[in-house]
């Protein structure tokens, strides 16, 4: 059988699934992609939450885009443009001037020249370490204990990349993997405000506090990203987050992939020998396929679509134990005018604004999460996308999009009951920094991890399809023994963020999975 008449069905239409579809179509496979929602893009899409007010549905910034994918799939040619690039980070200060971070330059917030230099040195160090991670991201992670040449070479390359960082960076790398971001930042800085500002990048979207070990890995993971060759840059696509996934879709369709929306998949079907043979849609339609690729999270894939009884118990037990405790919510506000934030220059409102004054602030909020409660002082990453794209709100009006951390999926009180109070708390917290914002609010929406689970079909509402901890990282992602996109079921692959290298709008998982599949199925 040649590639051309091998039919591949992809489940889910998130950015990784779309990337995978485009790569496979480009190689000559016949590809069909089925998305449950009426809009493709999954968590990278737009959402009209009130009439005339549109926001990014979940993710609201691009910062990890894989440059190779961008080029290979000609995303620019398919409509991906940036409305704003190299956004500065503005850290809200409860006591006055906001801190402004622009690349490795830091200003405002009453910091000293010495601290500015320290920040530069710190960024240089962590960026270098993050590039080591990135070197491991662009291909399948090697299997440990395998005697295949590819795996041995992969491990050797990983070791070589680590060694070639030099003695000092290599030992820093080994140390950083083990410690937490709290201790790390304490070592580099004295100023609490700087530390709080940096630390939010380690914890946003993750179930951990700054003092949780492993929080340096999540920080470095976040720093692996780049936009147009600038490491750690943030960008807002023109036309909202959908334009990124629309560009992927256009690219995939141009290459011959068929993309179906409103097609929820009920089951991944197996034949009598246990090999994958197609999918069944929610409407009962049966679609045959030689290969199925799942772009949804591993728990949903195996526990719901394949079903535990078709897999060995040891495997199912591991899948069930993947930790994916969603922690991040999304807040959307429709505002009658541009808000003002204390200590923030009006020209900087279109930048990335973070609310994370100290590491203690974060740790204390996480303490509530540990006991399935929600603090009334939460950390946030805020953007006002309507500044860059006037079409998102009526004339003169604006939309605010915030990712709010430390709102646990498994809230003891239950989200149905707690939701209005949590939203009110979030607005109260915001108005501490943006007085007057309350009066500007026309509509407000809170998407809790529960809502994200039901809206986007992700177990636990976990943005990264599984926590990015060291035991669920590299060759251990999603579980040990399944690190190379294939599964115990013949011709079933996974290409979602639950696989290596994980969450973030990279598309790298989709690409890696496609490459792996080409090798195995050709």
């Amino acid at each position: 059988m040649t590639k051309k008449n091998k039919k591949i069905v992809i489940v889910g239409g998130g950015h990784n699934a779309l990337t995978c579809a485009a790569y496979l179509a480009k190689t000559g496979f016949s590809v069909e992609l089925y998305e449950a929602r009426s809009q493709i893009g999954g968590m990278a899409s737009t959402r009209e939450f009130a009439e005339g007010y549109t926001v990014p549905g979940a993710a609201h910034l691009l910062h990890m885009l894989d440059a190779n994918i961008q080029k290979y799939l000609n995303l620019k040619g398919h409509g991906l443009e940036f409305a704003a690039n190299r956004l500065k980070t503005i850290s809200l200060n409860p006591n006055g001037d906001a801190l402004v971070i622009d690349g490795d330059r830091i200003a405002g917030g009453g910091i000293t020249t010495r601290e500015q230099q320290e920040y530069k040195a710190f960024k240089k160090k962590v960026n270098k370490l993050a590039r080591f991670f990135r070197s491991a991201y662009r291909h399948s992670p090697p299997r440990i204990g395998s005697d295949k040449k590819k795996d041995i070479l992969g491990l050797m390359e990983l070791g070589w990349n680590l060694r070639s960082m030099g003695k000092e960076d290599m030992s820093d790398m080994l140390k950083f993997i083990a410690i937490n971001v709290y201790d790390l930042l304490d070592e580099y800085f004295d100023d609490d405000f700087i530390k709080g500002t940096v630390a939010i990048d380690a914890v946003l979207g993750n179930h951990l506090g700054p003092r949780t070990n492993n929080s340096v890995i999540t920080y470095l993971h976040q720093l692996t990203g780049e936009i147009d060759g600038v490491q750690g840059a943030y960008a807002i696509p023109n036309g909202g987050m959908s334009s990124y996934t629309d560009a992927l879709k256009n690219s995939a369709e141009k290459l011959g992939a068929k993309i179906m929306v409103d097609s929820s998949v009920r089951e991944i079907c197996l034949d009598e020998s246990g090999k994958v043979c197609g999918i069944t849609l929610e409407n009962g339609d049966e679609i045959n396929a030689d290969v199925v690729v799942s772009g949804i999270d591993p728990k949903s894939t195996f526990m719901c679509l394949v079903g535990p009884r078709h897999l060995e118990a040891g495997f199912i037990h591991k899948i069930q134990n993947i930790r994916m405790r969603g922690n991040a919510s999304k807040v959307h506000l429709a505002l009658s005018a541009l808000p003002t934030f204390n200590g923030v220059d009006a020209n900087d409102l279109g930048q990335r604004i973070v609310l994370s004054p100290t590491m203690h602030y974060l740790e204390q909020a996480f303490d509530f999460t540990k006991y399935q409660a929600c603090s009334d002082q939460l950390a946030m990453e805020i953007i006002i996308p309507s500044i860059h794209d006037a079409s998102l709100a009526p004339d003169g009006h604006h939309v605010l999009s915030a990712i709010v951390n430390y709102t646990p999926y498994a809230l003891k009180e239950g989200w149905d009951k707690a939701k209005p109070a949590v939203l009110e708390n979030i607005i109260n917290t915001l108005s501490q920094y943006a007085p007057g914002i309350k009066e500007q609010i026309l509509h407000a929406e809170l998407l809790t991890p529960k809502d994200i689970e039901s809206e986007y079909g992700i177990t636990g509402g976990h943005w990264h399809h599984g926590e990015l901890t060291f035991d669920q990282f590299l060759m251990l992602r999603p579980i040990s023994g399944m690190g190379q996109y294939s599964t115990p079921i013949e011709s079933l692959y996974i290409c979602g963020a639950g696989a290596h290298p994980g969450g973030g709008l990279m598309g790298t998982v989709g690409r890696n999975a496609a490459v792996e599949l080409m090798i195995k199925e050709s």
Partner: protein
């Protein structure tokens, strides 16, 4: 349910038959079996052994771990848990089974009783609740350990059927090997299966604790003229080796207890290929076993007939060039087969059909250690395999 609420004072359980077994255990030799105390020997190992072989021996099996699996998905559940095709074990039948971990290594062996629709009992040596519970994710089944709630006796030997018939269990002789039948005994339901660990005609009787002593008394009263005797674990070990049956923890390492890689065994490495149905689309360990099939096993299980009369306990085995090729896991001099028999696990460089097997046997004479090197041959059939084990209706004496 705890059998004895005061067990912690003694740190062991007594089986429901204890008041009778302790009277008969004139040697007062006991051993611990899953926290129960059971007789090692009652009066003399060899005489207990000969009771099983020539008349009837009775063993208190109560400590055997018993797990009940019920619920609408139980048939599918057992078929995924065990390596063999469980659809072939009809209602009212018993099957010998092994089950594996993810690596295709044997966790334990045992018997499964298909008692009625959607009800199975698993009887084995090691507690399996955790393995069963993990395996139950996604299945509508209920799993319960009933070890303490069910008393059990093994009634084994040529006259066993006659005794049970004399007790009034009509049609008992019609039970085929591995059949189950339920009877009423003093107003309680008891279950009799034509199963056992002796390799001879024999039955196992399963009952609630309340009637255990009455059943024992009646069994021994009716059995007296048929030569009924109790037998302990030492005699059991002799009959099970002759029957060719394995014991976990002795003939193979229980996979989840093993510390060293390579010390566990797959079903293929225990001579149990016939219990593995790789054509089933899924069962625990299948993927690893498929790979082993391609790669070939690391070990070969064999039954040996060794020259001489010195039992080869724990012997090293060598080939003709003096290379170590394996070890003996169980050994005895078999009075029934009149042979020096053993189970062994062989490994490289042993070549089937080419290499000799030579056992290095140590034995004592007046505390003085001696060593002999004896050649062994492989036996494929059980060492002791009387026709009456299979005949239905069972022979009455």
């Amino acid at each position: 349910m705890l059998l004895q609420q005061d067990h912690y004072k003694k740190s062991y359980y007594e089986t429901p038959f204890h008041s009778r077994t302790s009277e008969l255990n004139i040697l007062n030799e006991w051993q611990r079996w899953k926290d129960y105390t059971v007789a090692t020997n009652y009066f003399r190992t060899d005489l207990e052994y000969f009771a099983v072989r020539n008349t009837t021996g009775v063993i208190d099996y109560t400590p055997m771990v018993k797990q009940k699996i019920t619920g609408p998905d139980s048939a599918e559940f057992v078929n995924r848990f065990f390596t063999r095709d469980m659809n072939k074990i009809a209602i009212g039948r018993v099957g010998y089974v092994v089950w594996c971990d993810e690596g295709g290594q044997v966790l334990d062996d045992g018997t499964v009783f298909h008692i009625r629709e959607n009800e199975y009992w698993l009887l084995c040596v090691e507690r399996q609740l955790d393995n069963l519970a993990i395996s139950a994710i996604g299945f509508d089944v209920e799993i319960e350990e009933i070890t303490d709630d069910v008393a059990c006796l093994g009634v084994q030997g040529p006259t066993s059927c006659s005794i049970l018939k004399a007790m009034g269990f009509e049609g008992i002789e019609q039970l085929k090997p591995f059949d189950i039948k339920h009877y009423d005994f003093q107003g309680h339901e008891i279950m009799i299966s034509r199963t056992g660990f002796s390799g001879d005609l024999g039955y196992e009787v399963w009952m609630v604790n309340e009637i255990a002593l009455n059943f024992w008394d009646e069994l021994f009263e009716k059995g007296e003229i048929y030569g009924i005797k109790p037998f302990g674990l030492d005699a059991l070990d002799l009959v099970r080796i002759e029957a060719g049956l394995l014991v976990p923890g002795q003939d193979f390492m229980v996979a989840e207890d093993a510390i060293r890689p390579g010390s566990t065994r797959s079903p293929f490495e225990l001579g149990l290929s016939w219990l593995v149905d790789l054509s089933k689309p899924v069962f625990n360990g299948r993927q690893a076993l498929l790979e082993e099939k391609k790669r070939g096993p690391r070990y070969t299980f064999v039954k040996l007939n060794i020259n001489g009369n010195k039992p080869a306990h724990g012997s090293y085995l060598y080939n003709q060039s003096g290379k170590k090729i394996g070890t003996v896991t169980s050994a005895m001099f078999s009075p029934s087969a009149k042979a020096n028999i053993a189970f062994a696990s062989l490994h490289e460089p042993w070549k089937k059909g080419k290499d000799k097997i030579i056992a290095e046997i140590y034995y004592q004479k007046d505390l003085e250690w001696n060593r002999v090197m004896e050649e062994a041959t492989i036996v494929t059939k059980p060492f002791y395999d009387p026709e009456r084990k299979r005949i239905t209706p069972a022979e009455l004496y």
